[in-house]
């Protein structure tokens, strides 16, 4: 009985998505207009053959891979700048005073509002234009700096703000105990400040990666793009292939979901998070 109950509880998760799917499919069959509301079996056909070439843009899997590579590069750029700056702003009041108002003015600007300016600055320059030794690989030629910068801007602020908050929420006693045990300088940073603020830093990484992912898809719709899930969706729109549009959207959703769960799992591992 207990097992049945448990199964019943788990089944609850699937009720809503299943109902939505049935409703969608029924509406699609009734409307019978594939260019507006594609049938789910057509969408599933695209999703179930991820290695097959779609139109002329490469396979679904290839487009997912290039999108992931872009988001990871932009995200790493954000991590490498936002975490150190956040640690400094959280720990040193003077640094915070110097940087805070600038950050707070730039932060409300939506990453996509930067697009025209960044295109004006960087155009459609790809990574191999700057690092010629990478030109031999076809992977790098599809990665433009403007795309990376948009992702970077999206990911940067949540990481920065959470890191600052992470340092500020460290109980004073941790730092003072460490200092009276002889810790200072770099060891104090590496052994105390970073681990003590890690739970909130990871939260920042999770949110930053999520926003970066959202910006990526939009950035891939910019001129000069020729690959990626965002591009795939846009291209499918021009050919009135709504089944591919929905399949592309589903892929974006699933990848975003998996990344979020991964970071949530990591947050759960950092069990001292609730102690601050």
């Amino acid at each position: 009985m207990l097992v049945l109950k448990r199964i019943g509880r788990q089944a609850g998760r699937f009720v809503l998505p299943l109902a939505l799917a049935v409703l969608w499919q029924a509406a699609a069959i009734w409307l019978d207009k594939q260019t507006v509301l594609p049938r789910l079996d057509a969408v599933a056909a695209v999703l179930l053959h991820p290695t097959e070439k779609i139109l002329i843009t490469g396979s679904l899997l290839e487009n997912m891979a290039i999108s992931l590579l872009r988001v990871i590069l932009g995200f790493l750029l954000a991590v490498l700048t936002a975490v150190p700056l956040g640690l400094a702003m959280g720990y040193f009041k003077q640094v915070n005073r110097m940087v805070d108002s600038t950050v707070e003015m730039l932060r409300p600007i939506p990453p996509l509002a930067w697009v025209p300016l960044i295109l004006a600055w960087l155009g459609i320059r790809g990574v191999p234009d700057v690092f010629p030794f990478l030109a031999t690989s076809p992977v790098w030629s599809g990665i433009q700096f403007s795309t990376l910068i948009i992702i970077f801007i999206g990911a940067f602020f949540p990481i920065l703000l959470n890191t600052i908050q992470g340092v500020r929420s460290i109980p004073r006693e941790y730092i003072e105990s460490a200092r009276t045990l002889g810790a200072k300088g770099l060891p104090l940073l590496v052994k105390i400040l970073i681990p003590a603020s890690l739970p909130l830093i990871v939260t920042g990484l999770r949110i930053g990666l999520g926003i970066g992912w959202m910006c990526l898809v939009a950035a891939e719709m910019m001129p000069g793009s020729s690959s990626g899930l965002g591009y795939l969706i846009w291209y499918a729109y021009e050919l009135l292939r709504a089944d591919i549009i929905v399949a592309g959207m589903a892929a974006i959703g699933v990848i975003g979901f998996i990344m979020d769960r991964g970071f949530r799992w990591l947050e759960g591992k950092l069990f001292w998070g609730g102690m601050g």
Binding site: E173, Y174, E176, S177, T180, G182, K191, P195, W272, M275
Partner: protein, 248 residues
């Protein structure tokens, strides 16, 4: 050994007014002595401890350890706090080894030393545990072991047992006396609990304030282990109580 000469500490509050937390305090603490600072909350006893630790610097006067001026925190003056004492991301063993790690002692050596001090507080079997898995009393014992493992000249304790229940507090007070006898240390112990002070101290420094000043220094020569129910013990507590009542 530890000398405070006419030490004062001034703060500015939010409105820019000067607040005097400690005002002209002089005190000499001898080698291996256990000194308790007692007083009401806000009387400047914790500030005094923080000044000795080097976590604050005096606005006036001088603090010196073996003739050397105290400047900034250092492992020779280790503090045990009341709360958030252990680093929750480190195992118990790694917590106790932290001070030696900062001194650059090798992993093998510092872990051996940490185990020894964990043994001293009776918690060798918890070496691999993480602080959140331990009870409050066990955490404070580990904190004491961690401070001792760093081999400080002076051990500073800021109401270390204040957050524990009465029974655990009693046990830890006995433990501290046993450890203090085994591992001779100079200890400065801040508490608002008069009984705790009389139970532990060679000398009880009764403070009043703000600004924090010494009301009286009382020698406490009762034989150890001390009996809380003896007439001398109760008499001493009553005298301190009366001093604190009259203080302001």
């Amino acid at each position: 050994m530890l000398e405070l000469t006419n030490v004062a500490k001034m703060y500015s509050n939010i409105n820019g007014e000067k607040i005097e937390a400690v005002g002209g305090l002089s005190l000499n603490i001898e080698e291996n002595e256990m000194v308790c600072l007692v007083g009401r909350s806000g009387c400047g006893k914790t500030t005094t401890l923080r000044l000795i630790a080097g976590l604050e610097s005096p606005s006036q006067g001088r603090i010196s350890l073996r003739g050397k001026k105290v400047e900034g925190p250092a492992a020779e003056r280790c503090v045990v706090f009341q709360r958030y004492t252990l680093f929750p991301w480190r195992s118990v063993l790694a917590n106790v080894a932290f001070g030696l790690e900062m001194q650059g002692v090798s992993k093998k050596e510092r872990e051996a030393a940490a185990l020894k001090y964990l043994g001293l507080v009776g918690l060798e079997d918890q070496a691999k545990a993480y602080p959140p898995e331990l009870s409050g009393g066990m955490q404070q014992r580990v904190a004491v072991a961690r401070a001792l493992a760093a081999d400080p000249e002076v051990l500073l304790m800021d109401e270390p047992f204040g957050a524990l229940d009465a029974q655990t507090r009693n046990v830890l007070q006995q433990e501290l006396m046993r450890i203090w006898r085994a591992d001779q240390k100079t200890i400065v112990f801040v508490t608002h609990d008069i009984q705790e002070a009389v139970l532990l101290a060679d000398r009880v420094v009764v403070m009043q304030g703000p600004p924090g000043r010494i009301r009286e220094i009382m020698d406490c020569n009762l034989p150890r282990p001390r009996d809380r129910n003896s007439a001398e013990f109760i008499g001493m507590c009553d005298r301190i109580h009366a001093l604190l009542e009259g203080a302001d």
